[in-house]
C-alpha cells in the first residue's frame, strides 16, 4: 500500500505531479515561515543574553556563583553615544593573570590597549578623530568576537587601564566574574538594554501564537488542495474493495510525501534566506546569521511533526469517504455547526476579563500563563466560531437573496460553512493580531516620555553629574570645569554657549508646567544662561537663577519660554559650588555635538553616563518600546502575508474542486459574471462577518490586557491602523479577483467534456 501511495503521489500523471508540487511549495513556504519564527525567537533570546555581561556590577547575581576568579577585575561599565547610537564601554584593569575576561576577547587589554567591536572599529576609521577616536586612550589590539556582542551592529569597546588609573574613576568596581543573567530577569540588573526577560517571554509567547496558528492553517489548507478530487479517487478505490485502513494508509503516504517535500523546501528556504533575514532589525538590532539557529528538538519537531500532522489531517479529512464507497455519488450534507462553537471565544474573553477585574497573577510565569491562555483561547475560539458565524451570516443572506448568484453563494455557504470559513480563517486571525498589536502599541505610546520642547534645548548636550534618586533627593556632583575645557568647548564650530548648573544642596524648585514639586534645584549664573537662550532666562536684574538640577527628569515644555526664579547666591559662592551638570548648547549638527561630547568625556571620564542631548535622552527612553513595535510590525506583516497565501491557495483550490459543476453551469447558459459573483460572495461574506467579530474581539482583549498589565486605558490606534485594516480587506478581495482568469479557464466547455 505504501508503494501504491507513493506511486499515486509522485507519478500519477501531470495533474498529480502539479498538485504535489503546489502542495509542497505551499507547505514549504509555511514551514520556511515557521522555521524563521522559531529561529528568530531563539535569536532574540540569544541577543538578549549577550547584553548580560554589559550589566555586570559588584552586585550582579552571578558574582557569588562558583567559578569566580581569585584575582578580581577592576571594571567600569558606561554607555556612550555617537550619532544617536549607543556605545557600550568597559574600562578594565586586571589585577592578576586569572582576572575575569569579558566574553568575546582572548584576554584583558593592558593599559593603552583596547578591544573593539567590528562596527565601532569601522566607525572609528570613518569618523573624524575629534568626534570619536579621541575619547578612547591607546590603540586597538583586536576585535571583540561574537560572544561579546549582542548584534553585529553593536558598538562595544573594552579599554585597558592600569590599576592606578581605575582607582581615579568613580563608580569602578571589582568583579570576579561577569554577569550572565539577561536584562530584566528576576534578580538581574536592568539598565534598559535588550527587551527585558519578563516582557520577552510574554511577547515571544504571543508572537509564537500569532505566527504559529496562521502558519498551521496555511499548511492545513495547502495539504487539502484538490481534496474533493482525492476523495473521488479514494471512493473509487473503496468501491473495488480497498479497506478503510488501506485508504487511510494511502492518503497518509500521499500527504506525508507532499509534506515531506514541503519540509525539505522549507528548510532550504530558511537556510537560503537566513543571512538576509538576519539583517532585518526585528528588535531594532540585526542578528548574527548563525544565531538564527534551530535546536535539535526544533528541527525534529518540524521535520517529523509537519509530515505527521499532514498525515493525521488527511486521515481526518477522509472520514466521510470512509463511511461509504459511494462518498462521491451520495455525499451527505455535513451537520450544521452549532452555537456552542462560540464558547471557546467567550472563555478566552472571560479569562482576560477575570484577571482584568481581579488583578494579574503575582508571578511572572503566572502572568505568562494567564495571558497566553486567554489569547490562545480567543484565537482558537475565532477559528472554531468562524463556521457558525459564517453559517448565520449566510442564512440571513439566503433569506434576502434576489439574484441567482447570491442565492447559490448563500446556499453553498450555509451548506458547508466550514470549508468557506477555512479560506478566510488566516486573514481573520491576522486581523485580530493586527488589532491587538495596534491598540496596545497606541496605548503604550501614551506613556512615552514627552520631549522637552524647543530646538535649542533639544540640541543641548548635558553632562549630568548630579542624579535624582528614587526618593527624589539629589546626589553626586563634579568639580568645576578647568578653563581650558570651557575654551575648547566654545571654540567648537556650532557650539552656541556653555552653561554650568551648580549644585546647591537643599535648594528646591516647584513648577506645575514641568510637573515638578519640591524638585532638587541647581543654581545658574545669569550671565552664562543669557548665552544659552534655549534653556530659559533670568528675571530682570538677577545675578543667578534657580533651575531644575536635572533637565532629563522633568516633564515637557518649551524651556526657552521659562523665566526661572532668581536665586539669592552671591557670585563668589556660586563659583565655589560643585557642578550639577555642564550644558553645551549646539546648533544640532553632528560634528558639533560629537566634538563637544568628546571634550566632555575626556574632561570627565567617569560621569554618571555619557553626555546626552535632551533629544537623545528622549529617544533612549522610548527605545525599548521601539524594539517591541518593530517586533509587532514584523508579526503583523508576516501574519498578513501568510493569511494572503492561505486565501489565495484556498480560493484556487476550491475552484479546482468545483470546476465540473461550474463548467456545467456555464454550459447551461450561466454567464461568467454570475460565477464570479458567486466566488466573491462565498469569500466576502465569511470574511466580513468574522472580520467584524475579530476586530471587535481584538479591541476587547486589548482593553483588558492594557488594564491589567499596562495599567492604562485603551487608546484608539491611529489612522494608519484603519487604513491598513481596510487595505488588508481590499487586498483579500483583490486576491479573490485574481482567481478570475483561472475561473474562465477551468470552466470552459472542454472541462465538462473531459471531467
Amino acid at each position: 500500500m505504501i508503494r501504491l501511495g507513493l506511486r499515486l503521489a509522485v507519478s500519477g500523471g501531470r495533474e498529480a505531479v502539479v498538485r504535489l508540487v503546489i502542495v509542497a511549495i505551499a507547505v514549504g513556504i509555511g514551514v520556511g515561515l515557521l522555521l524563521t519564527a522559531v529561529s528568530a525567537a531563539n535569536a532574540v533570546n540569544t541577543q538578549n543574553d549577550r547584553y548580560a555581561w554589559l550589566d555586570t556590577s559588584a552586585s550582579s547575581p552571578s558574582q557569588t556563583g562558583s567559578g569566580g576568579a581569585s584575582a578580581p577585575l577592576r571594571l567600569l561599565l558606561t554607555t556612550d553615544e555617537f550619532g544617536g547610537q549607543t556605545i557600550y564601554r568597559a574600562d578594565v584593569a586586571a589585577t592578576g593573570p586569572d582576572s575575569p575576561v569579558p566574553p568575546g576577547i582572548p584576554q584583558d587589554p593592558g593599559p593603552g590597549q583596547y578591544y573593539i567591536s567590528p562596527a565601532l572599529s569601522a566607525l572609528l576609521r570613518n569618523a573624524p578623530a575629534d568626534e570619536l577616536a579621541d575619547r578612547y586612550p591607546g590603540h586597538q589590539t583586536g576585535l571583540i568576537g561574537q560572544a561579546g556582542l549582542p548584534s553585529p551592529d553593536s558598538l562595544v569597546i573594552v579599554v585597558g587601564r592600569s590599576a592606578a588609573q581605575m582607582s581615579h574613576l568613580p563608580g569602578a568596581t571589582e568583579v570576579t566574574s561577569f554577569n550572565t543573567t539577561p536584562p530584566g530577569s528576576n534578580g538581574g540588573v536592568n539598565r534598559g538594554d535588550g527587551l527585558g526577560a519578563k516582557g520577552l517571554d510574554l511577547v515571544l509567547s504571543v508572537v509564537a501564537l500569532a505566527l504559529l496558528l496562521p502558519v498551521l492553517i496555511f499548511i492545513g489548507t495547502a495539504t487539502r488542495l484538490s481534496a474533493a478530487r482525492r476523495e473521488q479517487r479514494f471512493a473509487a478505490m473503496r468501491l473495488v474493495g480497498a479497506t478503510p485502513r488501506q485508504i487511510s494508509l494511502i492518503a497518509a503516504v500521499e500527504s506525508a510525501v507532499a509534506a515531506a517535500a514541503g519540509v525539505a523546501i522549507g528548510f532550504g528556504l530558511f537556510f537560503v534566506l537566513r543571512v538576509p533575514l538576519a539583517a532585518i532589525p526585528f528588535t531594532s538590532q540585526p542578528f548574527f546569521p548563525a544565531e538564527l539557529s534551530l535546536s535539535l528538538p526544533d528541527i525534529l519537531a518540524v521535520a517529523v511533526g509537519v509530515p505527521a500532522a499532514a498525515a493525521v489531517v488527511a486521515r481526518l479529512a477522509l472520514r466521510r469517504v470512509n463511511i461509504s464507497p459511494l462518498g462521491v455519488t451520495r455525499r451527505v450534507t455535513p451537520a450544521p455547526p452549532r452555537a456552542w462553537r462560540v464558547l471557546p471565544l467567550l472563555a478566552g474573553l472571560a479569562d482576560l476579563g477575570f484577571f482584568a477585574v481581579h488583578g494579574e497573577p503575582a508571578s511572572n510565569s503566572g502572568q505568562v500563563l494567564a495571558f497566553t491562555t486567554g489569547f490562545a483561547l480567543i484565537m482558537i475560539g475565532l477559528v472554531i466560531a468562524g463556521p457558525w458565524l459564517t453559517m448565520t451570516g449566510a442564512r440571513v443572506l439566503a433569506r434576502r437573496a434576489s439574484r441567482a448568484s447570491t442565492l447559490i453563494a448563500a446556499r453553498r455557504l450555509a451548506d458547508d460553512p466550514r470549508a468557506a470559513f477555512r479560506a478566510v480563517s488566516g486573514l481573520v486571525l491576522a486581523l485580530f493580531i493586527f488589532t491587538v498589536a495596534a491598540a496596545l502599541i497606541a496605548t503604550q505610546d501614551t506613556k512615552k516620555v514627552t520631549p522637552v520642547d524647543g530646538a535649542t534645548a533639544g540640541n543641548t548636550l548635558i553632562d549630568q553629574f548630579l542624579t535624582i534618586t528614587d526618593g527624589g533627593s539629589a546626589t553626586g556632583s563634579a568639580p568645576p570645569p578647568p578653563a581650558t575645557v570651557l575654551t575648547r568647548l566654545r571654540k567648537i564650530p556650532g557650539v552656541q554657549g556653555v552653561v554650568e548648573f551648580q549644585a546647591d544642596p537643599g535648594l528646591t524648585i516647584t513648577n506645575p508646567q514641568l510637573q515638578i514639586q519640591g524638585f532638587p534645584a541647581a543654581v545658574v549664573s545669569c550671565a552664562q544662561l543669557a548665552g544659552v537662550p534655549g534653556l530659559g532666562r533670568c528675571p530682570a536684574g538677577a545675578a543667578a537663577a534657580k533651575v531644575p538640577a536635572s533637565l532629563t527628569d522633568i516633564g515637557g515644555g518649551n524651556l526657552a519660554e521659562f523665566t526661572w526664579p532668581a536665586a539669592d547666591v552671591p557670585a563668589r559662592r556660586l563659583d565655589s559650588l560643585p557642578l550639577a551638570s555642564l550644558d553645551v548648547a549646539t546648533n544640532g549638527s553632528q560634528p558639533a555635538i560629537e566634538q563637544a561630547r568628546t571634550v566632555l568625556e575626556n574632561a570627565y571620564p567617569a560621569g554618571t553616563g555619557s553626555p546626552q542631548t535632551l533629544g537623545e535622552d528622549t529617544a533612549a527612553a522610548n527605545g525599548a518600546d521601539n524594539a517591541f513595535q518593530q517586533l509587532a510590525d514584523v508579526v503583523i506583516l508576516t501574519s498578513l502575508a501568510i493569511a494572503g497565501c492561505t486565501l489565495a491557495v484556498s480560493v484556487a483550490g476550491g475552484l479546482a474542486d468545483r470546476k465540473r459543476p461550474f463548467s456545467l453551469l456555464r454550459l447551461t447558459g450561466a454567464r461568467l459574471g454570475m460565477l464570479r459573483r458567486v466566488i466573491v460572495l462565498e469569500s466576502a461574506v465569511p470574511l466580513l462577518a468574522v472580520a467584524a467579530v475579530a476586530i471587535g474581539t481584538g479591541f476587547a482583549a486589548s482593553a483588558m490586557y492594557a488594564t491589567m498589565e499596562m495599567r492604562l486605558s485603551l487608546v484608539s490606534p491611529g489612522a494608519a491602523y484603519y487604513i491598513l485594516t481596510s487595505a488588508g480587506i481590499v487586498l483579500a478581495l483583490v486576491l479573490i479577483l485574481a482567481t478570475f482568469p483561472m475561473l474562465r479557464r477551468i470552466t470552459g466547455p472542454e472541462t465538462a467534456r473531459t471531467e
Binding site: M1, R3, L4, R7, L8, G12, G13, E15, A16, R229, Q232, R233, A236, M237, R238, L239, V240, G241, A242, T243, P244, R245, Q246, N322, S324, P325, L326, V328, T329, R330, T754
Partner: protein, 238 residues
C-alpha cells in the same frame, strides 16, 4: 440450487426518504439478472445493499451462505475486493492510474505482486480489445474504452458476482452493445453471477431474467430460463 446472493426483507431509508421497503431477491450462481424500474425506485440502493456497500436498516443481505450486513466495514471491503466486481456508469476509474494499473488495482489491494497483477491486467485488457491502451490514463480513453477498462477491472479478480449499475448509461448504442456483449461473455466464461441495474430494455435483454423494482419492493417481470441455478422473484423468496 441455493442462491449465491440474496436480499431478505431489506429496508433502507435516506433521512426521511425510504428507498427500499422490504425488498427480497435471490440470485443463483452464474445467473445474469437485470434489475429494472423507474428512476428513484430503489434499483441502485438494492444493488448497493446486495454488494455490501450499504448496510440495510432492516432485513438481511446474504452472500454464499454468509450474512453481509453483520460484517464489519473492513470485512465487507474484503468481500467486495475478493468476491465481487463492479462496473458503474462512470467515475469509477482512478484518474491518476493508467488503464492497466486501474485493472490491476483490486489485485494490488489484495496483496498481489505488482508484476503479476499487471500481467493479469494486460491479459484482461487484451481479451476486451484494449491492446496497446494499457499505459493510457482514463482521461485519454473514450467512454466505451473507459467502460471496458472498468469491466476488465471488475472481472480481473475472477469475481463470483459482478455488479453493474447502468454500465452503458453514458455510451452510445454501438459502444453499449459491445460492452454488454463482452460483459456477458466474460461472465459466462468465468461462471460469474451478474446483477445488472438498467432501465434500458435492450441492455436488459442480455440477462437471463428480469426483475422490476417499484416503490422499494421487487417484483417479477419476465422469467427467462436461468442458465444455471435457481432464480427466484420476491414472491418465491421466503
Amino acid at each position: 440450487m441455493s442462491a449465491i446472493i440474496e436480499a431478505r426483507g431489506v429496508v433502507k431509508s435516506f433521512g426521511q426518504t425510504p428507498a427500499l421497503r422490504g425488498a427480497c431477491i435471490a440470485v443463483g450462481p452464474g445467473e445474469i439478472v437485470a434489475v429494472m424500474g423507474p428512476s428513484g425506485s430503489g434499483k441502485s440502493t438494492l444493488l448497493h445493499c446486495l454488494s455490501g456497500i450499504l448496510v440495510p436498516d432492516q432485513g438481511e443481505a446474504w452472500f454464499a451462505g454468509q450474512r453481509l450486513d453483520t460484517l464489519t466495514e473492513t470485512q465487507r471491503s474484503e468481500v467486495r475486493r475478493d468476491k465481487f466486481g463492479f462496473v458503474f456508469q462512470s467515475g469509477q476509474l482512478v484518474p491518476e492510474l493508467t488503464a492497466e494499473e486501474n485493472v490491476a488495482l483490486p489485485l494490488l489491494l489484495g496483496g498481489a505482486r505488482r508484476a503479476a497483477a499487471l500481467a493479469e491486467a494486460r491479459a484482461w485488457l487484451g481479451r476486451l480489445g484494449l491492446d496497446g491502451l494499457g499505459r493510457r490514463r482514463s482521461g485519454e480513453l473514450s467512454g466505451g474504452q473507459a467502460q471496458r477498462v472498468a469491466l476488465a477491472r471488475g472481472m480481473v479478480g475472477g469475481p463470483q458476482v459482478l455488479f453493474a449499475d447502468e454500465p452503458t448509461g453514458s455510451l452510445d448504442s454501438v459502444s453499449g452493445e459491445m460492452v454488454m456483449s463482452l460483459m456477458t461473455r466474460a461472465a459466462r466464461e468465468q461462471g460469474s453471477t451478474v446483477i445488472l441495474v438498467t432501465h434500458d430494455a435492450r441492455v436488459a435483454a442480455y440477462a437471463d431474467r428480469e426483475v422490476i423494482v417499484r416503490d422499494g419492493t421487487v417484483g417479477s417481470l419476465t422469467g427467462a430460463a436461468p442458465s444455471a441455478g435457481t432464480a427466484q422473484s420476491s414472491e418465491a423468496a421466503r
